[in-house]
């Protein structure tokens, strides 16, 4: 890949992430605002965005710190809340397996919900190993820089933006995810898995630490796997007779 190609891929990745950046902006500001009302210094809040870069976990951590939760509780909570990222890196692993370790570490460190969605939507159209890492990198860097800027805005001017949540900017994320998911619903097993995930995630949304989300995904994936079995068997039979 030539230098301009890399740059174009990087820019395309960042561009594909723009709706997600809009969607994450209010959360960054609200996170920064929350920090100012808790026991943390402003620079602690920015450090958390720089080092952890995980919205949900950061929100919960600020709440727990305000309640004087212990070190162990905070780490355990972070682990549970972010556990779904294991699924993201497992799903994308075949597409980055050929890269040097430093590349894999860099890309993995930026794997948020949004970056996963954008990276996967790009990779899935190609065979593993045929697409370079620059699109993924562009998406991750865009999301990371965006998160830092809006965290800082919240830390410094959070009190000046009351009612930010009521603007509904997070709907940009909903629209983008729909644009990625709906074209994937090409067979009954995908539709069934998606419906299961949506219904259970709604019913279980009050479970603590995002466990309802994780549970809904695990059950929905199981539904998809069960529905895949007859098809898989038929395919294997076809390959055997070839």
């Amino acid at each position: 890949m030539t230098q301009p190609d890399r740059f174009n891929e990087f820019v395309a990745g960042a561009r594909d992430t723009i709706p997600m950046m809009i969607g994450a902006a209010p959360f960054g500001v609200i996170f920064g605002t929350l920090v100012t009302s808790g026991p943390l210094h402003l620079w602690h809040g920015q450090l958390m965005s720089l080092a952890v870069f995980a919205g949900s976990a950061q929100f919960i951590a600020v709440g727990l710190l305000a309640a004087n939760a212990s070190f162990v509780v905070l780490l355990a909570t972070t682990f549970i809340v972010n556990l779904r990222h294991v699924l993201y890196s497992a799903t994308l692993a075949p597409y980055v397996a050929h890269l040097p370790l430093r590349w894999r570490l860099l890309l993995g460190s930026m794997l948020t919900d949004e970056v996963f969605a954008v990276a996967w939507a790009h990779y899935r159209r190609h065979a593993p190993g045929t697409v370079g890492p620059y699109h993924f990198l562009g998406s991750g860097v865009a999301m990371y820089v965006n998160w830092q800027i809006w965290t800082l805005a919240g830390l410094l001017f959070g009190a000046a933006f009351p009612g930010l949540q009521s603007l509904g900017l997070d709907f940009a994320m909903v629209a983008t995810f729909i644009a990625i998911v709906v074209p994937q619903l090409v067979a009954f097993r995908y539709i069934a898995a998606a419906v299961t995930a949506g219904v259970l995630a709604f019913l279980w949304q009050d479970w603590p630490y995002k466990l309802g989300l994780l549970g809904a995904v695990l059950v929905a994936v199981a539904v998809g796997v069960v529905l895949s079995r007859p098809g898989a068997i038929r395919q294997r039979a076809m390959e055997a007779t070839r």
Binding site: P19, P39, H41, H44, M48, A51, V52, A54, A57, A61, L65, S70, F71, L74, L75, T78, F79, N82, R84, H85, V86, L87, S89, A90, T91, A93, A97, R104, L105, G108, S109, D113, F116, A117, A121, G168, F171, V174, A175, I178, A179, I180, V181, V182, A194, A197, G198, V199, L200, A201, F202, Q205, L213, V217, A220, V221, A222, G224, V225, A232
Partner: protein, 107 residues
Amino acid sequence: MSYVLIILGMAAITLLIRTTAFIVGERLVFPPLVRTALGFVPVTVLTAIIVPMAVSPHGNGAELTWRNPQLVGALAAVAVSALTRRPLLTIAVGLATFFVWQGVVLR
């Protein structure tokens, strides 16, 4: 307890979760069942994230009504995506519907 230590601990755990499958690299070979399962991850996880946001945007029960702009915008986006499969058009129509609904229709 030092806040910096807590933050760095959170960062280490998050990094570990995100990179473990990547660190293994080419030695990581999933059995067919796991590969099938991972094929359902994107569709299920993205749906699981957005359905509660669209159906109960205020987090207190389902708002299955035309007065819920998140739901109306999401349904418009689903329709456009199903008909055209064009991501940008889907996002544009979904956002436009949402903001028009929230700012004009419900005003």
